[in-house]
């Protein structure tokens, strides 16, 4: 079975849109929530795919950005819902419940932290890069646990979902529409990025650092820019994820979260535009259906992952398009 990748990508998008619409018709709000969850996890993994897929950097600490996005939402909304001031030392304001502002904050903070983590960790590669990013992720995890002002280990509940101008975000399909639109916009931007001169250079830097240097470019800088963009996208996903659950906790920073994002990409196809989306859909479907049967559903996930790593390096998308290898 060999299908054109663009056809599959189109079908995926149509499917992601059709399923919740059908759920509206038959009045199954939980299905909408489920698809929304898949969309948000996909967005987070799309962010990771920028560095893991295109840049060849296996970050095992991307939960840091997911969590920063989540806490950006949590903290801003917490102050807004409790009418307390968010005191930054030099300025103080009352928080906000407006999504675009929260997103902006989440992306800016994630990008700044990514810049710092990237500057330090990109000096290393291979296993050391994996370990150093993991270490940074864990630092954020333990910081969040001990941050008692914002719930510490118990996390932070936001009672009412944040607002989006002109929409009622409490209606599941409307919140889904927001997340879906964000995903589509980001996918479009990432597709442009991949085909751009920057994307071409980044992809070459993954394959041969010295080649890129010899062509007059700084591979470190290319990777750093990719790392920052990647962190910002995953941070945005974190803010949406927190809004979906109306709850933030240190588990968003956990290394299991980082691992899950990597797993999503591997299942769907490393370095493929829609790989993370396919992976996220499969993951959420397994979590829902197998998770309903047994608490140990991760075993089945593990078997699937094993099969893909052994027999289909290009992930499910690689399998469907008949292109076996990763990336190509």
């Amino acid at each position: 079975m060999k299908l054109d990748e663009r056809v599959i990508n189109g079908l995926m998008i149509v499917g992601l849109l059709a399923l919740p619409l059908w759920a509206v018709v038959v009045d199954e709000p939980f299905t909408i929530t489920l698809v929304t969850r898949a969309v948000i996890l996909a967005l987070a993994a799309v962010g990771l795919n920028i560095i893991l897929g295109f840049g060849g950097m296996v970050s095992f600490g991307h939960a840091a950005f997911f969590g920063i996005g989540g806490y950006a939402m949590g903290i801003l909304a917490y102050h807004a819902q409790t009418y307390t001031a968010l005191d930054l030392g030099f300025a103080s304001f009352g928080g906000t419940k407006t999504m675009p502002l929260i997103w902006l904050t989440a992306m800016v903070f994630s990008a700044l932290v990514a810049l710092l983590i990237g500057l330090l960790s990109l000096r290393t590669s291979g296993v050391y890069f994996i370990m150093i990013t993991l270490a940074f992720g864990q630092m954020f995890f333990y910081f969040a646990i001990s941050w008692s002002q914002y719930g510490g280990e118990d996390g932070l509940s936001i009672y009412i979902r944040n607002d989006f101008p002109g929409l009622n975000t409490l209606v599941p399909i409307q919140f889904f529409a927001i997340c879906f639109t964000v995903l589509c916009v980001v996918l479009f931007l990432v597709a442009r990025l991949r085909a751009s001169p920057f994307g071409l250079a980044l992809n070459a830097a993954r394959q041969s650092t010295i080649r890129v240097e010899t062509m007059g470019m700084d591979p470190m800088r290319l990777k750093l820019v990719a790392f920052v963009l990647s962190g910002a996208v995953t941070g945005l996903a974190g803010a949406l994820f927190a809004d979906l659950n109306r709850f933030v906790s240190p588990s968003m920073f956990s290394w299991q979260m980082s691992g899950e994002l990597i797993v999503l990409i591997i299942i769907g196809g490393v370095g493929r535009l829609m790989g993370p989306v396919v992976g996220a859909c499969v993951f959420v479907a397994l979590e829902h259906f197998l998770g309903g049967l047994t608490d140990f559903w991760h075993i089945y996930l593990g078997v699937i992952l094993l099969c893909i790593v052994l027999f289909a390096r290009g992930g499910l998308l690689g399998l469907l398009t008949g292109k076996e290898g990763a990336h190509v």
Binding site: P197, F198, L200, E213, M215, G216, D218, G325
Partner: protein, 249 residues
């Protein structure tokens, strides 16, 4: 005599007690091919790395077009006009030939800060890349993935990628390595025509190619240049024979 395009001044590099580069001063004049020969372990690759900036010399300087580039990074030297090819092909193997060639143009034009335009649909990038591929005879393979190229074609692409930089000087590390007689001959013809574009500093083991191409030859032994001269001079020098060429010539 015109000023050299590329020159090193008293380069020294020690690895512990080993003198890998011992007071090497070498220059490359416009329009010439200057070959550097020497036995294995003579320090040829070490010398190239210092010229291109991937290895820092203990002392000495490197000049490109009269400018001291000793403190510059590899990428800065590449943009200033050093077109380097590798002994072992360093290509983006998963990418197509054209994508590889475009990479050089992106570097030369500082285009890597463009996030929006499509690299392969930007004529300013692809025209120059295609011209370079045309030059090395790979134009019809532009859509081939590098991994599917023959060894000889990869060597040609190495040269083509250096060309995309519109270099002031070529630095070639054993471009003939691993080529058969036919491939070696084709590449020799190609390099012969390139010297008018930019002079070539050629490190090579293939003596047929060296004697066919080189205007001047320098002989490097134990990190030291023991002789520099016209091709014929070197061939007949007894010191060189003893150190390197052996009985066969």
């Amino acid at each position: 005599m015109s000023d050299p395009i590329l020159a090193t001044q008293n380069l020294v590099k020690n690895f512990g007690a080993l003198k890998a580069t011992d007071d090497v001063s070498i220059d490359l004049l416009p329009g010439e091919i200057h070959a550097v020969i020497g036995p294995n372990g003579a320090g040829k690759s070490t010398l190239i790395q210092q010229i291109c900036g991937s290895l820092k010399p203990d002392s000495g300087r490197v000049f490109l077009d009269g400018t001291d580039v000793s403190k510059q990074s590899t990428q800065a030297r590449a943009r200033a006009g050093l077109g380097r090819t590798f002994q072992i092909s360093a290509l983006a193997m998963e990418d197509t030939v054209l994508e590889n060639a475009v990479l050089g143009v992106i570097g030369a034009q500082h285009a890597a800060r463009q996030f929006w335009s499509n690299a392969l649909r930007t004529p300013e990038l692809t025209d120059r890349a295609m011209a370079a591929l045309e030059r090395v005879g790979l134009a019809e393979h532009s859509q081939t993935r590098c991994a599917n190229l023959s060894h000889g074609e990869r060597r040609q692409l190495e040269v083509g990628m250096a060309l995309t930089l519109s270099p002031r000087a070529f630095i070639m590390d054993e471009p003939m390595a691993g080529l058969g007689a036919g491939g070696s001959k084709r590449l020799t013809g190609l390099l012969d025509g390139l010297r008018q574009e930019a002079p070539i500093l050629l490190v090579e083991h293939d003596m047929d190619a060296v004697f066919a191409l080189a205007d001047r030859i320098s002989v490097l032994v134990y990190g030291k240049i023991i002789a520099t001269g016209a091709s014929q001079e070197i061939r007949s020098s007894s010191a060189v024979r003893e150190a390197y060429l052996g009985e066969e010539i």
